[in-house]
Symmetry: C2
Subunit: 475 residues, 2 copies
Amino acid sequence: MTEQTDAQLRDYAPHDGSDASTSLDDDNRLLPGFVSQVCNALDEGEEETVYDLVEPLHPADIADLFELVQREYRGPLARAITDLLGADVLTELNDYVRDDVIDALPAAQVAELAGQLETDDAVAIIEEMEEADQRAVLAELEPADRAAIVDALSFPEESAGRLMQRDLVAVPEHMNVGQLIDYLREHADLTTEFWEIFIVDPQHRPVGTCQLSWILRTPRHIALADVMKRDQTLIPTDMDQEEVALRFQKYALISAAVIDGAGRLVGQITVDDIIHIVQEEAGEDILRMSGAGEGDINEPIRQSYSSRVRWLIANLGTALVASSIIALFGGAIEQLVALAVLMPIVASVGGNAGTQTMAVAVRALAMNQLTESNTRRIVARELRIAVLNGATVAVLTGIGTALVFADVMLGGVIAVAILVNIIIAGMAGVIVPVTLDRLEQDPAVASSVFVTMITDSMGFLAFLGLAVASGLASF
Amino acid sequence: MTEQTDAQLRDYAPHDGSDASTSLDDDNRLLPGFVSQVCNALDEGEEETVYDLVEPLHPADIADLFELVQREYRGPLARAITDLLGADVLTELNDYVRDDVIDALPAAQVAELAGQLETDDAVAIIEEMEEADQRAVLAELEPADRAAIVDALSFPEESAGRLMQRDLVAVPEHMNVGQLIDYLREHADLTTEFWEIFIVDPQHRPVGTCQLSWILRTPRHIALADVMKRDQTLIPTDMDQEEVALRFQKYALISAAVIDGAGRLVGQITVDDIIHIVQEEAGEDILRMSGAGEGDINEPIRQSYSSRVRWLIANLGTALVASSIIALFGGAIEQLVALAVLMPIVASVGGNAGTQTMAVAVRALAMNQLTESNTRRIVARELRIAVLNGATVAVLTGIGTALVFADVMLGGVIAVAILVNIIIAGMAGVIVPVTLDRLEQDPAVASSVFVTMITDSMGFLAFLGLAVASGLASF
């Protein structure tokens, strides 16, 4: 595939953030005035004005523009600036927004665009399409491009096989630096998107990697085998993209060889694709922990509703457990209504403490920092923090309550209940996600429901139970 | 500085994940058995055994080992394997763990290690040290290295100036490809860590960038000015690292030129440093939103305590507001204890709905997706989702309550209260973070407290207020 698209060959003004551009603000975001100018022109049907406005933008900013305008403008905008819709714009688009744009274009044009893309980017576009549209686009592609894409689609979603690009530079071990440079100059059809070259044995298995800077620094007669680094991170095609991203971070990689089951080099993954995955995966946890599904602001409302309402209903279930515990103490509350006034405090600080610990544990698990080797140590650490936090909050609340209600016993009861609940919260906050992780479940997804149920129930149980036990009220 | 450290020149076995290594598990994490073997040898004082065990590990795994062992083992481990402590190990270490390791080594050795590092990595180590230690290490450094580090330390923390490395390749416009290659071969002291070449004008201002692959593909007589890309992303030294990371993602950069106030090229930032920042910044939001401070499992307990207890006390404050509202309705609760049993449900689902929306808004703000141009649209979107979610949960809870308590009016009251609270939660969940962002505050840090206060208070107020208004109970 040819990576040098029109968009890449065009020159743009430097964008250094301090640049007083008319379309970007200080934070490099499109100005609202510019966006509404484009929308107004689209309303008036002035396609040429739209084109002239958008033409000076960098492809990444054109992508932003599509995301910022309302959905109904995306089709007309795509048709007005079709010439500017290079591969660079498409790869930067949010998945949902890209669907809107692609839907507005005829299959032949989508195929032409897909042909310009690297395999992984073309796959990202085509995998999201309806099957009929997929077939239409595939039929329009060049046979070699089509084969590469069909092959990529045969790997599981979010695997290295989907992520890799097939275009790479691989040369045999016996070459020297001069031969390599000549080979690169003579083969105009080779990709330009490579940062390292791979050295392979006769079975096409990678044996080493060479940074381009090493090649440029080395005299022509030196053998590649003497410059290359034999230490390589090889990525099997079926490795999950999250795992691939962790390898890139751990070993500070710029690119990595992807190998098939027989150890043969079949593709490469480059860091520019990884950085998006790191952003996504690291950011996903906050959305999962709060039960917000994908949490994409461009997601259709129906989908957002269905992923969120599920967790609200689960939350309703856990709230019912807490309610049943309160119901047990109905008599006590009737006798001493202060219990009803104070009980949410115990549950609330417990829930907060649990969420703190859980966030820490979920992050540490995601980054492979919390493993079997140090779980006991981290649990002990969280216990100590919980005792300190619990004692502080318990003393504050206990004294406050004793003063406001002129009841020392009530102050003592709430203090002990808070201490107990924060300790339970701290333990649950680390043990629940670690257990889910051991069971090969995503700790970010389900931990919240369990931890909240535990801190709510235990908060009410400890407070109301202690109130009864201490004789403040009876069942 | 010389980047080719001993550690980089050594060869390791390929680590492809499927490799049945004796020290790593399937997920590329060190096996607990291996870690305790090392600890046992340290207990026995068998430094040679420790060395032999650790020697075959990749530097990134040695870094992991330091993080996995208990704190008291870190000093002895550092002393046992000092030879293996290359720059690669140090740069991969967690900040807190690195402090433990550095503390165990004499200043001269730290200086030697710092001299091997790229400026940005050396700065990362030295900026964390006590002032006296800093001076001791700086005194041991080569003058050129010392000057570079002192200069870097003059920039604000987390700015591009701190992040950049000074070693780069910059050449004048009039060079051709052949001259550049000869220049690179002749200057053995140049860095090997570069992926692009910067072309500068006589005032040393960057005018273009050249990927190394383009240079390797181009005949010797072609002028660099004809191969280079004039479109550049220039990073001012004072740009915040989060902003730098967003530019790298938006424009898919491998490296970028850093310029001073006069537009002169003073350094470069490479993507391997950015990927850590993306991971950190994207992961930070979950920790900030839950009030867990830095949330690093290696942070000293005292620090974790102080950052977390602050938020628990803030949470206590918001819980008091909710309690005061309940106190207003003390009489009503005495008359109908079911109100006390049910009221936490209303607050709980409201809180959950608020957190969902807030997580979505915080992510979108962090990624520059939620800007002035589309705020109204996103608020409208969240309102529609809130109405759908609220209606669903309200109907379920209303019917359930009416049946369990055999009281249709009570069912109606809780249903309306839940619908109202989820709608308020949805609006607060997006408006609070957006407002904080407009006020230049970090929306992840403070949103939770406000949103929880709103959903708790409004939940109790709506439910208890409606119960009184509908005549179920009186003040």
